[in-house]
């Protein structure tokens, strides 16, 4: 029984590590920031997830104590990864305004929120839009 658990834990750790490695390879291989964003938001979640499940199995099966921290880490990771990716993408668009012409049209009467103010927005929002368009 102990052997099976140890095997499971090792497999999860090695598998998770492999995904983390692949995520890092992706960072090196892919050409620009927007494509590189795909590697950490996906390959890494499964990598970290594998390590966390391994930790839970280890503590529950071999040490006999229930450890639930890992669930929290997973939950926080899943909440923060998309939001930070979104902000990195937005910051990238601000930084490289030449990308603006490459964006597809919104299909709406207004533009993308990184460059255009919301319709009927207050002064603060308009200011924000101007900064994005001309800096």
């Amino acid at each position: 029984m102990t052997f099976v658990l140890e095997l499971l834990v090792s497999l999860l750790i090695v598998g998770g590590g492999a995904f983390l490695l692949i995520g890092s390879i992706g960072m090196v291989k892919l050409p620009d920031l927007l494509t590189r964003l795909h590697a950490p938001t996906k390959a890494t979640t499964l990598g970290v997830g594998g390590a966390l499940v391994a930790s839970m199995v280890f503590f529950a099966g071999l040490e006999g104590t229930l450890s639930i921290h890992e669930v929290l880490i997973t939950a926080f990771l899943f909440m923060t990864a998309p939001i930070s990716a979104h902000f990195i993408a937005k910051a990238h668009l601000h930084e490289h305004t030449e990308l603006r012409d490459g964006l597809p049209p919104t299909g709406r009467p207004v533009g993308w929120s990184t460059f255009d103010a919301a319709p009927g927005a207050g002064e603060a929002d308009e200011d924000d839009g101007r900064r994005g368009a001309h800096d």
């Binding site: 795909h38 921290h69 990864a81 998309p82 919104t106 299909g107 993308w112 919301a118």
Partner: protein
């Protein structure tokens, strides 16, 4: 200023101290999970923190999130968890076995039928976590989503998949 205080004071005692009962419960649970072992003192601190935090921040989100069906919400979580695993394998395959030049990297626009900010946030987060797509921007009026695809030979097909798989489900969860 005075009018605002009058409006706040119209709330009942319960509404003032437990503006978001569910969030209070989640915070208590979160605190207990962080402690990782049960003690009465820990529970007491957790309850006090949860009540104070929801009370202090309630002005930022006066409305409770409108969830119609919790069972569908949990089913959605299951679908997303599965898709995250699939997404990992797909992106792994793209990274390892495809030359960068052959990737059909492109922008895709998703016109949103969802209206509530919560639903759009969940959709954008889901799209980022799942196969080869990262949601990058929202149109200024919040009606379409800009999505960056790592490998999308057929833009319309990608959009249709996202709409069918996630947006339709979210429409049933959020009004």
């Amino acid at each position: 200023m005075g009018a605002r205080h009058d409006r706040l004071d119209e709330r009942t005692f319960m509404e003032r101290w437990l503006p978001h009962p569910l969030m209070t419960a989640v915070l208590v649970l979160l605190w207990m999970l962080l402690l990782n072992s049960f003690s009465f003192g820990g529970l007491l601190v957790g309850v006090v923190l949860a009540v104070v935090i929801t009370r202090v921040t309630s002005n930022f989100w006066p409305e409770r999130p409108p969830v119609k069906s919790w069972s569908k919400a949990f089913a959605y979580l299951g679908v997303v968890a599965w898709d995250v695993v699939v997404a990992n394998l797909q992106v792994t395959r793209l990274i390892l076995f495809r030359p960068v030049e052959s990737l059909a990297t492109r922008w895709v626009v998703l016109s949103l039928e969802l209206r509530s900010p919560e639903a759009i946030t969940v959709l954008a987060g889901t799209i980022t976590m799942t196969p080869g797509t990262v949601s990058c921007d929202l149109s200024a009026d919040g009606r379409s989503l800009l999505v960056h695809c790592l490998d999308a030979p057929d833009a319309e097909d990608t959009v249709r998949q996202m709409k069918e798989r996630y947006e339709d489900r979210l429409k049933e969860i959020f009004p």
